[in-house]
Amino acid sequence: MDTAFIIETIVKIVVILLIFSALAGIGTYFERKILAFMQRRLGPMYVGPFGLLQVAADGVKLFTKEDIIPTGVVAKIFKIAPVITAATAFMAAAAIPFLPTFTVFGYTVHPIVADINVGVLYVLGVMAIGLYGPLLGGLASANKFALISTARAASVFISYEVITGLSLLAPLMMVGSFSLIDFNNYQVDNGWLLFSQPLAFILFWIAAFAETGRTPFHLVANDHELIDGFGTEYSGMRWGLFFIGEYANMFFISFVMALLFCGGFGDGSVAGALALLGKVAFFFFVFLWVRAAWPDIRPDQLMWLCWKVLMPLAVINIVITGFVMMF
């Protein structure tokens, strides 16, 4: 492997890490502002112009707070759990093409860390490993609320893995490849998968809400019932890592949805690149919009939805797609 490739990859990794860590912070700013405007209030206003520096203030606070390891916790696991959440979220980013290939000063840049031929599987797989963050953190916390939250996390995430996987099967059959770039190119020729696979898209979208733990499926760390669930005993930057992981996940899943179903970056022109960012912004916005509009459902209702509604639909979708492709 030549040195240039290694250096290029490291640079890409660092850039992605920095951009998305910052985005996670700015994401909270947008969330607070958008929710505030929907609820007829102002949101953050005092730190910096329009409260823009609120993110920085929050960051400083999280970094400088005391890192409390309560007595009675399993310290090693307790310490590593938030790192798993944040790390897996960013690892998933490795196979996501954030922009089309472009050329700077005669040097071609591929804005993807690794275009592996099982990109879709890799992204979903690594995101699923993120489950170990809440799971280990909650179990190690020696707190009953964290324990209940862990039980919820295990059931919700694993159940909705099934929906994500099954809903993607039909589009996968049509595209015939696991590479996200192939997905993009397929849609350039054949139109958006959103139109040929609407049901799969909706199922995947619903599952995305469950996987990221957003309202109406905000159950794992439901503030009203479980305090902060698995995060109850955490403080400072360890809690912050859970937080960054959650928001990074929201961005990445938005990218995945845009790439898999909504045409991605199209032919790779500047307009296509901007359109991709626009689509991602839209999906992120919908996460916030839904939070402002709906209450949360109960864990057992979520399970009911998963196994009795979504999964049969996903299977039917696969069967129909199969028949259509066969004949």
Binding site: L35, Q39, R41, E225, W294, I297, Q301
Partner: protein
């Protein structure tokens, strides 16, 4: 109607009243210590029971003297479930025993507390430290045994006293199987501050600010409920303008109270936007009240025999703006949830209590009406010209969380109707009675005449002299029947004040209500019942 009884007759008489005479609601059990009372009661301790008839109009009062407080009387918990905590409270405050009570222990004071604070010979300056929390196993264990459950296989979890959505400080210990609540027991008293003892050391008007702190979400209604009881004893009625002002501010308080309950309940299921839509108008209502009374939360706007001051110039426009924004907030909030499947799934058939159980537990107000019982004191025993206003009694049908919330939504609309009518027909004239043994003289009078100075001085130092007697009066507050039992010895300070706080009786049913539901449902049940710890713990 007061009926004197012998101790041994109590149980039979209560059973007779309940089964034959249909007095279905136990309103209150009041303990009294006649140690320092000049009327020389035949025994030191007495118990007063208030009941309300099935038709909700008639009440009956039973009174019995206690010859030996250690021996006590028969418990009526087997007849009225609501009597459980009421009897524990009497035991806690007076040390009167109740035979055959399932678990006679303290309820408001700390379990390590020594002495019985409402006894007249209790030294109020004496204090001591209590350090141990109770494990509540004495309440939970029997429940588990009853259901033949093994504690080792269950999760025992504290909901509260701080967060898990206990509005106020309430602790509920639940036994969980997964997320399902198998049984639970509640502990209250975290906000107990000796309201009733303080009352015995203050003049009637000095008590008014204390009543603000009972149900702090609708402070003015507590003021009114208290002063109306005293006014009944003085046998005075306010001039019409005063009555109308009371109607307007108490209906506004009812609106505020319901807004708080709804906003918090919806927030508890994650409906954050509804919270703001409902809380913003509440803020505007408080702006209006602060302009009117000088305080946002604890207004102390009422005095015995009147009101502190008249409405200010231009109050109508301000009130109109408040009403408009309340209307808008309620409409928008309803728009978001009325046909929302998630909202329906989370609230319907959750936290159900049947009408019979609710009556037996002594429910009142919106929580009782949600069960389909049409009981509202504003209709049953109209006071303050409520019979002349055109508004509806709101009832639910199932007694679930959904009904409790929707009844409150509708009641806000009815209260708006009342305010609009009262605003139109409010007469001019005085707002307080003119009797100067009750109401302070005008400042001009005080500064310019010796009679005025004397009058002011006597009233402030000695307080309003209330004739000897014992009186109970119920008032339809936002949360239900807020009743004050006042015993006067003829002086300027009450001999005994007992509050019948609706939340106290509602809270008692809570562990029963949440059984076999899930944690999320339990939180919804609590917030839909609008438990206000201020009035519950007193």
């Amino acid at each position: 109607m007061i009926k004197m009884l012998l101790e041994e007759e109590l149980f039979k008489e209560v059973k007779f009243l309940r089964d034959e005479k249909k007095f279905l609601i136990l309103l209150d059990i009041v303990g009294v210590d006649y140690l320092t009372n000049p009327s020389k009661n035949s025994s030191r301790f007495a118990l007063i029971y208030h009941f309300r008839h099935e038709n909700f109009k008639d009440t009956i009062t039973l009174k019995l003297n206690i010859t030996d407080e250690k021996e006590g009387v028969e418990s009526i918990t087997s007849l009225f479930k609501g009597a459980n905590w009421l009897e524990r409270e009497v035991y806690d405050q007076y040390g009167i025993n109740f035979k055959n009570h399932p678990l006679l222990k303290r309820v408001l004071n700390h379990n390590e507390f020594i002495g019985h604070p409402l006894r007249k010979d209790y030294e109020i300056t004496k204090g001591h430290y209590c350090t141990q929390t109770q494990d509540m196993m004495d309440e939970l264990k029997p429940l588990l045994n009853e259901r033949e459950l093994d504690m080792d296989n269950l999760t025992i979890l504290n909901l509260g006293p701080s967060h898990p959505a206990s509005h106020g400080t309430i602790r509920t210990l639940v036994a969980l199987d997964g997320e399902k609540i198998l049984c639970g027991a509640s502990e209250i008293g975290y906000l107990h501050r000796g309201f009733e003892k303080s009352c015995e050391n203050h003049t009637y008007n000095q008590i008014v600010p204390y009543t603000d702190r009972l149900n702090y979400c609708s402070a003015i209604m507590n003021n009114i409920a208290f002063v109306k009881t005293v006014e009944d004893m003085l046998d005075i009625t306010l001039p019409d303008r005063g009555v109308f002002i009371r109607v307007i501010v108490s209906e506004l308080s009812r609106i505020i109270d319901h807004l708080v309950c709804l906003a918090a309940a919806l927030l508890d299921m994650g409906a954050q936007t509804n919270y703001w839509y409902l809380f913003n108008p509440r803020g505007e209502a408080y702006d209006f009240l602060s302009k009117l009374t000088g305080a946002r939360l604890t207004n102390s706007y009422m005095r015995v025999g009147g009101i502190t001051h008249d409405l200010y110039d231009g109050w109508e426009t301000d009130l109109n703006d408040v009403i408009k924004s309340v209307q808008k907030g309620v409409d928008e909030s309803l728009l978001m949830i009325e046909h929302n499947r998630i909202f329906h799934d989370r609230t319907q058939d959750v936290g159900v209590i049947s009408a019979d159980d609710a009556l037996n537990f002594g429910f009142s107000g919106p929580n009782l009406r949600a069960c389909g019982v049409s009981h509202d004191l504003r209709f049953d025993t109209p006071y303050d010209y409520y019979d002349t206003f055109d508004f509806n009694l709101v009832v639910g049908s199932h007694g679930d969380v959904y009904d409790r919330l929707m009844v409150r939504f509708e009641e806000i609309k009815e209260s708006i109707k009342i305010i609009n009518q009262a605003k139109k027909s409010i007469p001019d004239g005085p707002i307080s009675v003119s009797d100067h043994s009750i109401i302070l003289p005008t400042k001009k009078n005080v500064y310019s005449s010796i009679e005025g100075v004397m009058n002011q001085f006597k009233l402030v130092t000695e307080g309003v002299k209330v004739p000897k007697g014992e009186h109970y009066k119920g008032f339809e507050a936002a949360n239900g029947e807020l009743g004050f039992s006042i015993i006067s010895d003829g002086s300027g300070t009450p001999y005994r004040v007992k509050v019948r706080a609706p939340s106290f009786l509602h809270m008692q049913a809570y562990p029963k209500i949440i059984e076999s539901y899930q944690i999320g449902d339990a939180i919804m049940a609590l917030s839909s019942m609008n438990i206000i710890a201020g009035e519950m713990d007193r």
